[in-house]
Symmetry: C2
């Protein structure tokens, strides 16, 4: 069903739109070519052109056409639209549009709205200190960087979720359409609910070519392209042609029709109109909805309106129009003449007045104020953002009796799950929308975040079955088996002003590592643009870690995302390794409520010993890195023989177990115990805002004692951080290693509990003194390691006393001058907790 065009589009309106388009194209070409004579008020000469011609013309005219017509739609329908530029190299087209709408000058007053401004606009493009050739964080109206391709549709979707009044026009290039993330993101109709969400209108722009050859979809026929989209829930229409006077009305018609159909879908879903709040009674079944979203397939020539043939070779309509159609201007006066003809063909004298300002009748084509896509607050999400509610954390505290530190087992992520539940509850709006979402590849429950299902479901717009578990169209937990979709949706959700978290497996977080890198870059630059308001931080929660992968082998073990993030902008990136449930809770809340960072939180979902009460956790997290006096075998003011440091939950457990061995075996050895939660504290303060000063660093780690460091990730990650500290060679890091035998990494299933013996041996090796009991303890460690190796191959699980180990040392911070050798804990019997799990399903789902 197509609704007819809702507005008149007579020749006058078409002429105006074609002139606005000409202005956009003129400004696009000018940005690529000119450094002077911007409005061609005199004949074009070589010295008016840039010394290096850098930029992409090919995709730009198509982008500008869509922009031109959307402006007419916005004015006709008085609606909010966001424009996502998938073909990122159309940067100059979007800059031109923002300038034509006046936004550019408002945002960057040094770029005027007159002839001088035009020249400045041209000169800044692809030149030192200026703007890049692709859509970027500097481009007003963008939440999408046009660099790494593939994320247009996920960013569009993220912006549309829970923004019921917004329609996102998402231009997908046929080059980008070949990428994996884009291909997967066509599945959006299964996850988009018109009752509470806005709409995404994909405009698949097939200009047929990428850099050097045709695209797959560009050479596919219409029937295949339509079937591809229809089968995934879209109801597409094809618009194609190379005569603007025909294409413009057809595309406008398609856009207005799409708008009308979207509004009908939404009205039906919302029951009584488009303002939300209805109970959805009488709404169409979600299965029908997911086959009804409009989409547009647009076929126009690459490099449209540019030089058709250059030096006898077809350029327009081929990949040769991808970048700069006319080059070698210095050597080829003909090319210079062609450039001038091309630019004058847009009739700049009819577009810009004597002062170089856009003529009034064209100015009037832009929507008003925030309705301009270049000025919409949806693309500057901090303007829409309301702070996340901050619940009293004590409601989620795992009570840790100070006298029973390190003795109770609790799943470290369960506190976070409860926090997320209440954040959902507190941010859900009456229409079923909200400002907070959790994104995860099908692992919410596996990651022990299932408390969220007390207040919402998994989102699914397909047919339901009786056996389904917490699933439905109104669910707001986003589970899809694609890290790209999860992270991309979250990015769009955050950049348009909301809050959220991406929870995933540590090893497979690497799948979307490149997206995290790009998001860091975005936030880094956004911080330097005063007009960009702060957005919520991107939080990545890794809960199935390399140390407890159970049945999952070596391929499921990889702490590499830490290494990916460490080199990036220190003003943006932070890595947290909370050792227990209360620290995980505090860190999670801290990250969720914060802005402008990318936070990596690594905490295992399995049951772990608990060490810190909530108040202690808050202090430890705020400090970032601190001495745990109760776990040390010397007072805080004593000069230790060795520092035993740790970062991460399993490493903390193992370091404590090592202290216990040392306390019993070499009671005279003075061990200082240090726990690192905020990894960035290790970096020198000049290199990261969280970095400790050298004096503080030495207060904690001593100036010169050896440090044995039990680390969650790859050991060299620590080494790179402590560069710049005095004598970094005194740090001896034991962490996750890929360098074992075939069986070693897999054995980590069990052997993680044996690290204590390796750590104790390393302490004995590095300590300043060799106290009484030294050799006996070393022998004991070797013996236990051998015993364990034999035991696990026979019994397929840890030695009982290892499996049920708990801390038995002191539990308060009073200095322990006499370092009492506590009696060994009674061996736990097979009826104790861990062994009582006999036969229980254990481990990761994936």
């Amino acid at each position: 069903m197509r609704t007819p065009s809702a507005i008149a589009y007579g020749p006058d309106e078409l002429d105006l739109d074609l002139r606005w388009w000409a202005a956009a194209n003129y400004l696009t070409v000018g940005q690529i070519y000119l450094r002077d004579n911007a409005l061609l008020r005199e004949p074009l000469r070589l010295e008016h052109t840039k010394p290096r011609l850098l930029g992409h013309w090919g995709t730009s005219p198509g982008l500008s056409m869509v922009y031109t017509l959307l402006n007419r739609v916005i004015r006709a329908t008085d609606s909010d639209w966001l424009y996502i530029t998938g073909p990122g190299h159309g940067g100059p087209a979007l800059v031109a549009a923002a300038w034509l709408e006046g936004t550019y000058t408002e945002v960057y007053p040094h770029i005027g709205d007159d002839a001088d401004g035009v020249l400045d606009l041209f000169r800044q493009f692809s030149t030192p200190g200026g703007v890049p050739s692709h859509v970027s964080v500097q481009t007003p109206g963008s939440i999408h960087e046009g660099g790494e391709l593939g994320y247009a549709l996920v960013h569009a979707a993220g912006a549309a979720f829970d923004h019921p009044d917004l329609t996102v026009a998402c231009i997908v290039g046929d080059g980008e359409a070949e990428t994996g993330p884009l291909a997967a993101s066509w599945r959006l109709p299964t996850f988009l609910n018109p009752r509470r969400d806005g709409a995404v209108l994909p405009i698949l722009h097939l200009n047929g070519y990428k850099i050097a050859g045709p695209t797959v979809l560009g050479r596919a026929d219409d029937a295949d392209v339509e079937a591809y989209l229809i089968s995934q829930g879209w109801d597409p229409v094809v618009v194609s042609g190379d005569d603007p006077r025909e294409v413009f009305p057809a595309l406008l018609d398609a856009l207005l029709d799409a708008h009308g159909r979207i509004r009908e879908l939404q009205a039906a879903a919302r029951g009584d109109g488009t303002d939300g709040g209805a109970d959805g009674a009488g709404a169409p079944p979600s299965e029908a909805v997911r086959h009804s979203w409009p989409a547009i397939v647009l076929r126009t020539p690459k490099g449209w309106t540019g030089p058709a043939v250059v030096d006898g070779i077809q350029v327009e309509g081929t990949n040769r129009a991808h970048q700069v159609p006319l080059a070698g201007l210095a050597d080829n006066p003909q090319h210079l003449a062609m450039l001038e003809r091309w630019m004058r063909g847009y009739r700049p004298e009819e577009l810009f007045d004597d002062h170089g300002r856009l003529v009034p009748e064209l100015r009037g084509l832009a929507p008003e104020g925030d309705r301009r896509m270049s000025a919409t607050p949806y693309a500057n999400g901090g303007r829409l953002r309301t702070p996340l509610p901050r619940p009293e954390l004590s409601a989620y505290e795992v009570v840790v009796d100070p006298a029973a530190r390190g003795r109770e087992l609790v799943e470290n992520t369960i506190t976070t799950g409860r926090l997320l539940r209440d954040l959902y509850a507190a941010t859900t709006t009456p229409d079923g929308g909200g400002t907070f979402r959790l994104f995860s590849p099908d692992e919410t429950a596996s990651n022990r975040l299932q408390p969220v299902f007390e207040v919402t479901d998994r989102c699914f717009m397909g047919p339901l079955r009786d056996t389904d578990d917490h699933l439905g169209p109104d669910g707001r937990v986003m589970e899809v088996l694609s890290e790209h979709l999860c992270q991309g949706w979250l990015e769009g959700y955050l950049l348009s002003g909301r809050h959220g978290v991406f929870a995933t497996y540590e090893a497979f977080a690497m799948v979307s590592a490149s997206m995290a890198v790009q998001h860091v870059k975005w936030l880094q630059h956004a911080q330097e643009l005063p007009w960009r308001a702060s957005v919520s931080s991107l939080n990545i929660l890794l809960t199935s870690t390399c140390w407890r992968n159970d049945h999952n082998g070596f391929s499921h073990q990889g702490p590499g995302l830490i290494d990916c993030l460490l080199p990036l902008a220190p003003g943006v990136v932070r890595v947290f390794l909370p050792p227990d449930a209360n620290t995980a809770l505090w860190i999670s809340e801290h990250c969720l409520s914060g802005t402008d960072h990318v936070n990596l939180i690594v905490v295992d979902k399995q049951k772990h010993l608990q060490y810190l009460g909530l108040e202690e956790a808050a202090r430890a997290c705020s400090a970032g890195t601190s001495v745990w006096e109760w776990a040390s075998t010397c007072g805080p003011d004593e000069d230790p023989d060795i520092v035993l440091a740790c970062a991460g939950d399993v490493p903390t457990q193992e370091a404590l177990a090592a202290v216990q061995l040392l306390r019993e075996g070499v009671p005279d050895l003075k061990v200082r115990f240090v726990n690192v939660i905020d990894l960035m504290t290790l970096i020198p303060e000049d290199d990261h805002p969280n970095g400790f000063s050298d004096s503080h660093f030495e207060d904690v780690f001593t100036p010169e004692r050896h440090v044995v460091f039990a680390f969650h990730g790859y050991p060299r990650a620590v080494h790179q951080l402590i560069h710049g500290r005095t004598n970094p060679g005194r740090f001896h890091v034991r962490g996750f290693s890929e360098q074992g035998t075939t069986t070693t990494p897999f054995d980590m299933v069990v052997l993680n509990r044996m690290s204590r013996f390796h750590l104790a041996k390393e302490v004995l090796r590095r300590a300043r003194t060799r106290p009484p009991g030294w050799r006996e303890l070393k022998d004991l460690c070797d013996r236990r390691l051998a015993e364990h190796e034999t035991w696990i191959r026979e019994h397929l699980e840890d030695l009982p006393d290892i499996a049920t180990w708990t801390w038995t040392g002191p539990t308060d911070d009073a200095p322990t001058d006499d370092a009492p050798a506590d009696p060994a804990p009674p061996a736990r019997l097979p009826s104790d907790p861990v062994l009582a799990d006999h036969g229980a399903v254990d481990g990761d789902g994936r």
Copy 2:
């Protein structure tokens, strides 16, 4: 058109197949549950079960059914098949199949083919020292690790390319189908040529669920699923049901029909049969071919034949069957009883003889020898691999007149392009196939590798146009705008016994970084399995680097893949940074002809100064890191005041320019110049096979002088490598930084040529002495930096004398005791090379 089943499938054959299937299912359940009483020769007791139940049942019966029937197809058609297990957690099913075929015992003699072997098979599964629960490198018949999901179809495609006689059955799970890489990989028909390539038969197995909920495709109706595949070039048939006696014949029919249609396609394309070598006359147009590939959509219950209902809750056919359907055996005797009933339902007493061996009539169902999918050499590609031809490198040498070192500009990748061209030529077979391919996201020409187009084209199985450039169905350069597809295809190509390279942009190499990580893990483990023959190394060539991105901004700059790879297996990973064309050539050839490594080669495609002749390049590359005496200002045996090191092409140029400044400004300063090509030489020898011994390291870098290090990537990458060296704090690394202002990273377009002044200043700061001229040179550097900053904003390009800088120092290795201050080079005029490019198209395509 469907061909009828080519073989009789009477009740007897069906019964046999159902029993083989029962045996596979029995062994699968046994692996998950049992540690004793493997063949249930006595009543099942709790102590016969494993203490921790780890594994995945859900997908396994479907995988085993397909395997069973493919065996019948193989025997009926006497053809070669490779089995790719997309649902990787079906590990026990594939292990069971390999054991039933006898391969497992052949490969792992400690796992016998009798009752003891069955028990050992069970005990090793998901236990310490054993095998993981997913298909892995240890699984005979696999080239595909079942960990990170998304790559089944790209690995299948890679194996099929240039293997005309092979058919790859690729089981795609509906969970995996939600991932980006898998979604993109359905486009294979656009790139698969039946004239020279084998076939891929996708079997989309919709059991409806992932871990915790339904899948998108599982809940889509048949029409949508079929349309989705048809629109991308497949001709699918749906097989569904839950009665094995109906599904088996239907699936066998579909498999045989698919086989027949594949053979018809191939015969038509090859002109005279299936043996290749024809000229393709009379072959169908490639556009028709790409709509003709058979595919199967298979709908069977998740956890089929397992417990239907447990504790009153439906398990079979839902996500609850994903892992272990019956848990809590210790607490729930009923569950233990159900497990026994379930296992006995397969009638093990009729499957295994008194010795526990598979009964003869079932043994006979497996194909013979290498036709067994668990034994096929296509899955152990080193058995098929022939060494790559090794052309005489002198044919590609860029002649560097020793007297003119550092004075001529050549594109650093052009030598590699010519080498690739000749490798194509030398490895192409008469039927148009071959053993070598280049994979790239549409950037072959942009990366200056275009010489390959002298001998082949880009591969494209769609309609062609007159304006197309080096494009056609017989082309063997694989360009698709997806790093995932490029890298995944290459992985499959290599693991099935061929050679190749993946060339891409440095920043966007991060898109498939996780795949590189997984491939490293695969090779690391494969090296430890004697039965796995060596395969060609995976070579990643990064040619558009962070230092020369021209119009592309900050988002296009990212050397992070280096940091991703550094922590991985030292026996596998190597990172090379050749400084010029001959070193790039030598390294490329070295990597292409090697085995069992993942090599990262970072070299910019733009024109650079040339320093080393081919023989010198060979020496420098073999050494990995070496002193460049001609560039030093002191003799090789002299104790320098400072070491100036560099790694990478732009850093080498800048370090040389810094030396020139120092030579002229502080002629008394003794600078030793060190160039690093093999980054791994920096690691201590105990930690990497390429690592220098401490004494060698100190021979090069001195034991204690400060080292100013100009590095291509993030500086802390170097710091992590040199941990363990004496006094690592003396290394002062300047590299790529994300920490500038908004404009700095983008300014790197130009400012990379200004690093020389920063380096010179750093040398002056760190040198042991402050020689005459020290302050003047420092002031000069500051002045030039300021001058340049002003100049580039006015002129939009480098200062002329900077842009055209060349080396003017000594060019031979004779010690230069007197350190002559060469006269400053004459300022080059604007007619010189770089400025003569005025108006040329420059920069990257993307």
